[in-house]
Amino acid sequence: MASVVLSEAEKVYIVHGVQEDLRVDGRGCDDYRCVEVETDVVSNTSGSARVKLGHTDILVGVKAEVGTPKLEKADEGYLEFFVDCSANATPEFEGRGGDDLGTEIANTLYRIFNKSSVDLKALCISPREHCWVLYVDVLLLECGGNLFDSISIAVKAALFNTRIPRVRVLEDEEGSKDIELSDDPYDCIRLSVENVPCTVTLCKIGCRHVVDATLQEEACSLASLLVSVTSKGVVTCMRKVGKGSLDPESIFEMMETGKRVGKVLHSSLQKILLKEESLGPKRQKVGFLG
């Protein structure tokens, strides 16, 4: 992750503030920074979303392509994640520098999404032969702390925005199959993102934990717990990140906080996505200029 240089005095200031439930920018320990979400920013994709969380900027594009189903799951489609840490985010990501972080985030995304997150059977076109493969590509434009949370919000918003064209399979006399796209460009299937989880990263600073840490706060914390919750409060993934260790009691506390914060995050994200959708195709797109 991008590194920031902090003096000992600044670290002590942050740690003492967190003890009193007061962070440097005035938030409480359980508060997120202001999140800006916008969908449908890239026109060549089946779905896209851009999320700005403080100084963190994430762009996700989802492309739906026809592929062959996996051998063990012949009647389901699947998702493929790829994370690219662009050199714009921080100079450390130049060349192959960002590859390690990119694979770590991609592996975490694979863990978070299990079989009940997205209805994979709806992605099947014909069993054993054709299915929809959703390539979810995440682009890190700017790194300002709390990458996992913003990426999971962006992925959820992009999947909500994804429109997969409806196809029919036609069989020839010889038995060869042909895939036909429907004529109407607006005839598409939408995915239900009800069970798509969002991650909440809780950083342990001193004796308390904070949600949505900035780069400076991450520098003061030695260990964090990453919890991924769905909107119903079901936990799909738990992971300890960082080079420190955690007390078992704090893990239980952090899980409870993660679930509570996660539920609030899901309900506000859902409200905003529905509101954006109701504005219709004539809404003002902010894109990259705002």
């Binding site: 992750m1 920031v4 592996n107 679930k259």
Partner: protein
């Protein structure tokens, strides 16, 4: 590749016959959810490594070797992208490089020797779990290399690798705050089943959720945690973590005995 006779690659599209075979047995036998398989641990086996350990638990066999400390590559460049954020003496702190490899014959299907992203994820999990225990501040500008080789996967492979790695580090004489003991758990699919401690390979394959916990027993600090799947609400995961921590405490005496025995052997073998 002309003349490459060592790696025999099969045809491009080939599947093992097990894929088309019928299921072997319906459901594993009922078992005590808190049973731990007997653990066999030996340290100090490899002559070329600074420290080594072999751990066997049920069908899972892991061999781990530690080498170093040697000069870190790129130590003058400073911390890399995943380095500590903001610590000025980050370049002075030692580094732990972990590698996790599966033997191609370790699972039911043959895996290519170059594992790919799953092995990198497990190697990162190993590193994150071992770092709290090792006193890296005592090895400035140096790196310690830990490599775990999974010979046979009989369930809870990551947990066994963690335990073997910390035994190997202790055998190498690396300064540590405490040993790291790993324990695996899994939960069968169904309405509200219990979490099973130390699952076998069959239980893991059929599981809806899996969890690996790493504990430092004397300090009672959780060094590593990695879990995913449909585990249910947070209370269920909390119960799983508690069960895992208890399991780790129960394995600890075996590891103590193993290290004492290795130390005695080394003392006996050393010239007076």
């Amino acid at each position: 590749m002309p003349g490459d006779h060592r790696r025999i690659r099969g045809p491009e599209e080939s599947q093992p016959p097990q894929l088309y075979a019928t299921e072997e047995e319906e459901g594993p036998a009922d078992r005590d959810p808190t049973r731990l398989r007997p653990v066999f641990a030996r340290a100090g086996l490899l002559s070329q490594a600074k420290g080594s350990a072999y751990l066997e638990a049920g069908g899972t066999k892991v061999l781990c070797a530690v080498s170093g400390p040697r000069q870190a590559e790129g130590s003058d460049r400073g911390s890399g992208p995943a380095g500590a954020g903001g610590e000025a003496p980050a370049a002075l702190r030692g580094r732990l490089l972990c590698e996790f490899r599966r033997a191609p014959f370790s699972g039911r299907r043959r895996r290519a020797p170059q594992g790919g992203c799953e092995e990198r994820e497990l190697a990162l999990a190993l590193q994150e779990a071992l770092e709290p225990a090792v006193r890296l501040g005592r090895y400035p500008r140096a790196q310690l290399e830990v490599s775990a080789l999974l010979l046979e996967d009989g369930g809870s492979a990551l947990a066994a690798a963690l335990t073997a790695a910390s035994l190997a580090l202790a055998d190498a004489g690396v300064e540590m705050y405490d040993l790291v003991v790993g324990c695996g758990l899994s939960r069968a699919p169904g309405p509200a089943p219990a979490w099973l401690l130390d699952p076998t390979r069959l239980e893991e394959e059929r599981a809806a959720a899996g969890l690996t916990v790493a504990l430092m027993p004397v300090l009672n600090q959780v060094a590593g945690l990695l879990g995913s799947g449909e585990g249910g609400p947070t209370e269920s995961w909390a119960e799983a973590v508690r069960l895992g921590l208890e399991g780790c405490q129960r394995i600890y005496p075996v590891l103590q005995q193993c290290l004492v025995r290795a130390a005695r052997q080394r003392a006996a073998a050393a010239p007076p």
